[in-house]
């Protein structure tokens, strides 16, 4: 009951100044933690999508979702449980490594089907796209090989189509 869980929420909002502030303020004002946040325009004019990952107890999450729906600029709130959506995230990882380990970096990047987007005598920058598991795994493998700097987009998500046809 009191287990803390990860929640991925997709929020459709009016694209107006201050909306992001309002949504973020709702979390910080009540002591909820935002793990990651991504926002961009959608194809519908005037609407943007915020994809947000938060971490907390389910009952608190229920309250957050209701508070979000209450905001005047929020049009729709969807709370995804892991199985209902496709999640993706992109990261740029800069690996600084010595001559002995540079080849290892390239091998790992190859296994994960990542691209190397920058190279210099001391480091590689790798671009990786995938779900959270893949990105965490890549980072874990790269850590012993060299020192890392990382920039992540945060998760974006899309609902999966319903399986089969309902009779």
């Amino acid at each position: 009951m009191n287990q803390e869980e990860r929640h991925t929420i997709s929020i459709l909002v009016d694209n107006e100044p201050g909306v992001l502030s309002r949504v973020a303020g709702l979390f910080s004002g009540r002591g909820f933690n935002i793990v990651s946040l991504n926002v961009a325009e959608t194809l519908e004019s005037g609407l943007s999508r915020i994809t947000l990952v938060s971490y907390g107890v389910a009952q608190i999450q229920e309250q957050i979702n209701k508070q979000l729906r209450k905001l005047v600029n929020v049009v729709k709130v969807t709370d995804f449980s892991d199985s209902d959506c496709v999640e993706r995230e992109m990261a740029l990882v800069k690996v600084q490594s010595d001559a002995a380990h540079r080849a290892e970096v390239l091998r790992i990047a190859d296994i994960f089907r990542c691209k190397v987007v920058d190279v210099s005598p001391n480091d590689y920058t790798i671009e990786v796209t995938g779900n959270r598991g893949k990105i965490e795994a890549l980072i874990d493998l790269l850590r012993p090989v060299g020192s890392l700097e990382i920039a992540r987009t945060g998760v974006i998500a899309m609902a999966r189509s319903k399986k089969g046809i309902k009779k």
Binding site: Q63, V74, V75
Partner: protein, 579 residues
């Protein structure tokens, strides 16, 4: 063929080329269309164009002596008139001075629109003179807010602001108007009623849920009805009374619900919660069904949550889904307007022979009567004036028909306990925020809305000094408000807590250095009266009620009187301290 003059209000919907008006004029055109007759405000450089345009419109302006008072006055005006209260203040410090008032209106869900001036749009973010990000500052304590940077956006924004303020769960809206938006010109066409995609409050309840509620009611032997501020905001006191009498259920309310059910009715239990009556707290603890209408189960009411209504099934009717299942898990949640929902509930309840119902309820009502006899609201008389006695006398001599505003603390609790409200919109208090200095400006707002009713502010000597300057506003506008100061020379409620929980270590609660309130009243051009013995109380009140001017009554009361019952913070409501 003459060209239509687009400047014709009351011709809604038709999109035609309007006349060019300044933002200030557009503001007043929409205010006029919204039926606004009064603005409480305080001018400044950023809003000088609005003030310059004001005399061209038939709108009354009440100049307060502090912007905080302007907001409290508009708040009380709204509560007692049923209209949306309106404030106008300037940028920078004018705007920041409104924050307390806005936060109080937000906590109590009062419909209010506050217009703040702002520097010209080109200077925003430049740390300009009297610039402040009031939209950022009030974001957490407004229902919604707007920054208007162009004259062309004024009409639609103002229309939306009023719609949001009064619809769904009401609340304060801030509209920040840049100076160039006010002075600039735009084509004016009266905007259509507001319609917002992301905002669709639910008024009609779910029929299945209403049926479920009716079924629970039919099975219940020891029901209690608990009303909150929502009953008053929704205008549902008739429907509440019908329900209570139909199922013979005793009724209690929160502080904000007082007046929602007649305080002189046989089924009235008294207020619930931290300083509620013994029988109300016991009834809720022992009931088997709690019907909650328009209340949010605030911590002042519930005390320790695991001992709140532990044997009861709970029906929760509220227009705001976020209030439901927030603090207390409930059995039958119903999202909807209180008046509409109660009306449907009353219709769906099976008809039961009143004799039958009385039989069923007899043991429960007998138990409640026993609780009332065990610990009625009481105090002992002595040679000094008891503050409870003052409130009782005021109740008696106004025949329970006055509008009572209060400050915060002991004065507020005694007013709630010893004045019995039979009608809604008669008790005006800062409940959720508990903001000292609320009472006098609120009395001014209430008297403006209801010039024919007696308005009394029940105050403490600490609270009254927070907005004492509003005596000037009352005198200037000929608002004959009466201020009853329960003068004990302390910050009473905090002193009480220091007495009960801190071994009587009175730190920073001694207020004996206060002005002579009688002389202060006279300095402002009002009347000042004083009573120092119990025999002087009645003549002072009588004289004050006879005078058609603002009056301060300084009642020098027993210094160390405590409010009882009291539920210690975090305690269970059944564990009340009774003396």
């Amino acid at each position: 063929m003459s060209r239509h003059n687009g400047n014709a209000p009351g011709s809604p919907g038709k999109k035609r080329k309007g006349t060019k008006l300044t933002g200030a004029k557009i503001l007043f055109e929409v205010l006029k269309d919204e039926g606004i007759g009064v603005i409480f405000g305080y001018p400044g450089g950023a809003v000088i164009d609005i003030y310059d345009t004001m005399p061209q419109y038939d709108i009354r302006h009440v100049l307060t002596r502090h912007e905080q008072a302007a907001v409290h006055a508009a708040d009380a005006y709204s509560r007692t008139s049923g209209k949306v209260g309106v404030c106008l203040v300037t940028s920078g410090p004018g705007a920041t001075n409104t924050v307390t008032g806005i936060a109080s209106a937000y906590m109590d869900s009062i419909p209010l629109v506050v217009f703040t001036g702002q520097v010209p749009s080109s200077l925003i973010g430049n740390d300009a003179f009297q610039e402040v990000d009031i939209v950022g500052i009030t974001r957490p304590c407004t229902k919604h807010n707007y920054l208007v940077k162009e004259a062309s956006r004024v009409a639609e924004t103002v229309r939306e602001a009023f719609y949001l303020a009064r619809s769904g769960r009401p609340g304060p809206i801030v509209v920040d108007l840049c100076k160039d938006a006010i002075a600039g010109e735009a084509d004016f066409v009266l905007p259509p009623p507001a319609c917002m995609k992301g905002y669709t409050p639910t008024y009609e309840p779910h029929k299945g849920q209403v049926k479920k509620a009716a079924q629970l009611i039919a099975k219940s032997k020891r029901p209690v009805i608990f009303g909150g501020g929502g009953v008053i905001l929704s205008g549902a006191s008739e429907e509440l009374r019908t329900l209570a009498e139909k199922i013979t259920a005793p009724v209690t309310t929160s502080l904000m619900g007082l007046g929602g059910f007649p305080g002189t009715h046989d089924l009235w239990l008294g207020m619930l919660g931290m300083h509620g009556t013994f029988r109300a707290n016991m009834a809720v603890t022992e009931c088997d069904l709690l019907i909650s209408i328009g209340a949010r189960f605030d911590d002042r009411v519930t005390g320790r949550i695991d001992s709140f209504a532990p044997h009861a099934k709970i029906i929760h009717i509220d227009i705001d889904p976020t209030s439901i299942q927030k603090n207390i898990p409930v059995n039958v949640p119903i999202v909807g307007d209180c008046k509409i929902t109660l009306h449907q509930l009353n219709a769906v309840l099976d008809y039961e022979d009143p004799a039958n119902v009385s039989e069923k309820r007899r043991p429960w009502l007998d138990q409640i009567r026993a609780w009332k006899e065990t610990a009625p609201l009481a105090y002992s008389q002595c040679k000094n004036i008891k503050p409870q006695f003052v409130v009782e006398k005021i109740y008696e001599m106004t025949r329970g028909e006055a509008i009572i505003t209060t400050e915060v603390g002991q004065n507020q609790m005694w007013a709630a306990q010893f004045y019995h409200f039979d009608r809604p919109n008669s008790f005006v208090t800062s409940g959720g925020l508990g903001c000292m200095g609320f009472g006098l400006p609120a009395a001014i707002g209430a008297q403006t809305a209801c010039p024919d009713r007696i308005v009394v502010d029940i105050a403490g000597d600490g609270s009254i000094q927070m907005n004492i300057q509003e005596l000037a506003t009352a005198v200037e506008n000929r608002l004959p408000v009466k201020v009853a100061i329960l003068n004990n020379g302390y910050l009473g409620m905090v002193r009480q807590m220091q007495e009960l929980f801190k071994d009587r270590r009175y730190v920073a609660t001694d207020m004996s250095h206060s002005p002579d309130f009688v002389k202060l009243a006279e300095a402002y051009g009002a009347v000042g009266l004083r009573a120092t013995t119990p025999e002087e109380v009645e003549p002072v009140i009588r004289k004050a009620l006879e005078l058609d001017v603002p009056v301060i009554m300084d009642f020098v009361v027993e210094r160390e009187e405590c409010v009882y019952p009291m539920v210690p913070a975090g305690g269970a409501i059944k564990d009340m301290l009774l003396a």
